[in-house]
Symmetry: C2
Subunit: 463 residues, 2 copies
């Protein structure tokens, strides 16, 4: 604790200065999807490089075909400490509709909400400028207090996260040696709630597939052909209905290969979070979990795989009625994967399943729309235990190990391209209105986020 305490004190003492720096960054309109803000994106990258240099990082702007990356390196005090890669993104979402903002999205401010609660307003305050600066400030404080960082740190800031990250994979490929570390730290997720810190240890993967069932060589009149000619919508409906059994399980042969049962202890902590079918589904107007019977909504969305139909179309879908038998019908089907499920095997099993249900005089076309395995860190991985304890200390509340229902592409890319696991720690809240008007970040998130990272870095550096 002797090395950590002065760092935490430094962070407390310098909160206002750290806010000034954050505000400088928030004022830069780095909207990556809109070409009109190309120069602003570069300006944000350059601002970060200068800031990192001021801490002592070897930082530089790296051009890509799109918006530039920021890469920075700093050695650590402990040779035996792990080398970590910190990831964040400096680009932000567009701000329209502007008239719904209570404050100028690019004129950040502190707003007192009463009862000791203050928020930082502005586009990017939470996603992800506020979050990434919590880590930068922790580094700055360490350097100011101890003249060094507790471990070797590489930083990667992206400028295209909000526009599909087109340059990311090529960049990781070309710079694999430079960016490879022992593991990654990613600050782009949320806490469980206002008081409870969380580490995201699982993210579901996905297989997306489009199928088109083709029957007759043209649309038919159902009076003339109905009863004799195959109807592709009926064939498709049968396929989709067959995908689940009565208990909500997916019926694809081998689908559950690689799916693990979540440890009872973890299930119990999830149980304790109080997310019920009623309060989770109630806000979207539903009440009955639709997935596998006998599992909680948290387990269903965090640790169980799914098969969903995301779109379907066929025949006449306009106003009124046409008695047509369509020539074809198609559906977009996706599978959320968990644990060690193999996307390629799931895709192949699905195609076999479909082929077996298409009559001999009809055909089916498949179109793959991408697939990625799930991410699942062992709940008892040492870095998780260390980060968990550090966060629990800072927030005076047990950290929960949670999972995410959807994928975070960068985490998959770090895993598959750099062989690197990611520790997902973030201080956003569900009500931060990211991507929407009136985005905000809790001042507490910004302050205790800095302190949390200082604690995590100290814990990671310990043998």
């Amino acid at each position: 604790m002797s090395t950590l305490e002065p760092v935490l004190s430094h962070l407390d003492a310098n909160l206002d200065k750290s806010l000034e720096r954050l505000f400088e960054l928030l004022k830069i309109k780095s909207i990556s999807t809109d070409p009109a803000y190309k120069a602003d994106c570069r300006k944000a990258a350059e601002w970060l490089v200068e800031d990192l240099k001021s801490i002592g990082f070897d930082a530089s702007v790296r051009d890509t075909p799109g918006h530039p990356m920021v890469v920075a390196h700093h050695d650590g005090a402990e040779q035996s400490a792990p080398h970590v890669l910190f990831y964040g993104h400096y680009d932000v979402q567009p701000v329209d509709p502007l008239n719904l903002w209570e404050n100028d999205p690019f004129a950040p401010a502190i707003k007192d909400m009463g009862e000791g609660r203050k928020i930082i307003t502005g586009r990017g305050s939470s996603d992800d400028k506020g979050q990434l600066m919590t880590f930068v400030e922790a580094c700055r404080a360490y350097k100011a207090v101890h003249g060094n960082l507790p471990c070797r740190i590489t930083i990667l800031f992206e400028g295209e996260e909000e526009s599909g990250s087109p340059s990311l994979k090529p960049f990781l490929e070309t710079h694999a040696d430079e960016l490879k570390a022992d593991f990654a730290l990613v600050c782009d997720t949320s806490m469980w709630d206002r008081e409870t810190p969380a580490i995201t240890v699982g993210l579901r993967g996905m297989v997306a597939e489009e199928i088109t069932v083709k029957a007759a060589n043209r649309d038919l009149h159902s009076g003339f052909f109905g009863g004799a000619a195959a109807n592709p919508i009926r064939i498709l409906s049968r396929i989709l209905a067959d995908l689940h059994d009565e208990t909500g399980r997916v019926t694809l042969p081998g689908f559950y290969d690689g799916v693990e049962e979540t440890p009872t202890q973890i299930l119990q902590t999830w149980e304790g979070l109080g997310r019920t079918a009623e309060n989770f589904l109630g806000k979207i107007g539903l009440s009955i979990p639709s997935g596998e019977k006998g599992r909680s909504v948290l387990e269903l969305t965090w640790a169980r795989p799914t098969a969903e139909v995301n779109g379907i179309t066929g025949g006449y879908t306009g106003e009124g009625f046409k008695t047509v038998i369509a020539a074809e019908a198609s559906a977009k089907v996706s599978f959320r994967l968990v644990h060690k499920q193999d996307p390629a095997k799931v895709r192949a099993a699905f195609r076999d399943f479909v082929n077996a249900r298409v009559p001999a005089d009809c055909t089916v076309e498949f179109h793959a729309h991408g697939g990625s395995p799930a991410i699942q860190l062992p709940y008892d991985l040492p870095i998780i235990t260390k980060a968990k304890d550090a966060l629990s200390d800072e927030w005076s509340k047990q950290t929960v190990l949670i999972a995410g229902g959807g994928s975070i592409p960068i985490v998959g890319d770090f895993q598959t391209m750099l062989g690197m696991a990611s520790l997902l720690v973030g201080f956003a809240l569900e009500d931060d209105r990211i991507h929407s008007p009136n985005e905000k970040y809790e001042l507490q998130s910004f302050h205790k986020g800095q302190r949390s990272w200082a604690r995590i870095l100290a814990a990671l550096a310990k043998k």
Copy 2:
């Protein structure tokens, strides 16, 4: 035969004159859907009134909110003979694309196709001016030879058949007493083939229904909610898949109430027509009958009820992929009905069936798109036997009693509004290209059609 033979001879001798009259009518551009031809439609009605007057009919143009009707009356020689209502329509389909016509659509001509086959070219030559004039010429010949008609005849010519018949039902309602006869004769159907005359004795009815399954109160992200939230496309697929069992039968409780088995003798004549699954389905690129197992394609399309999905839509259906769980999904479902199936009962059974399959936290909306019972005349009805024999005599080939897979609205209206069965006899051929460029009518159809009606009228007048 003493009264019939001279009528047939008169028709033979006056074929050229009957063609001149038909050509006059075919030259009138009575396209009912296009307001630009409103005056032409009236002109066609007036031409028919004058022509019917020349035969001795009490004929008049009757205004409607749309194009006028033609109504004509003539007493018959035999008091004991039935009173018949003949129906046809003088309006025609548009002619575009005009560049695909080999001849001017409104400059009718006789074209020699070689091997003794001649055709009448032009829009309306088959549908329905050529067909309706076969009946008018039979009346004319009877009157010329015998000074009277063999039975009391009322004629109704409509001018809006090709544009949805908006004025027909109100007109039938207002003129029910004037138009009601013992039965109707309708000349708007086809022969089985070039040599084989046919009477259509059955027409399938229909129930059309649109259903919309609603789940969450907004579209959801499948990563966040997938596995917990109900997916309306999955619910809809299950409903649609459940509509049929493994043998192709419709599973709605009570669905087959009122469905009769077709007499073996009729099935045998259908068998003899040589329409196989291969040649019927082959031309649309299929080969395997999709309906109830163990029944021929003719029975499936003529005498068995169906459940078809005519359209389906839900979720994301554009390019690429979106991992959305839709708030709602909908399908257009129709049932073809036969014999005595009750449309109201089928609709109610379907709604019960759907309701039973919608989870308690989801809802479903129903939207009725009309329904009509099937038309089915007994195969041994006396007027059918008489007309069948008359046609067999004329064509020197056994008349087949066939059915239609779809409805002909006028036949349903005559049945439900005037309590009148319809005898459907026509001389069109499948290759007449009605509604398409290069419509034609076989000269043989026009000539032998006139002779057929003369024979049928004579047969109906006989005790």
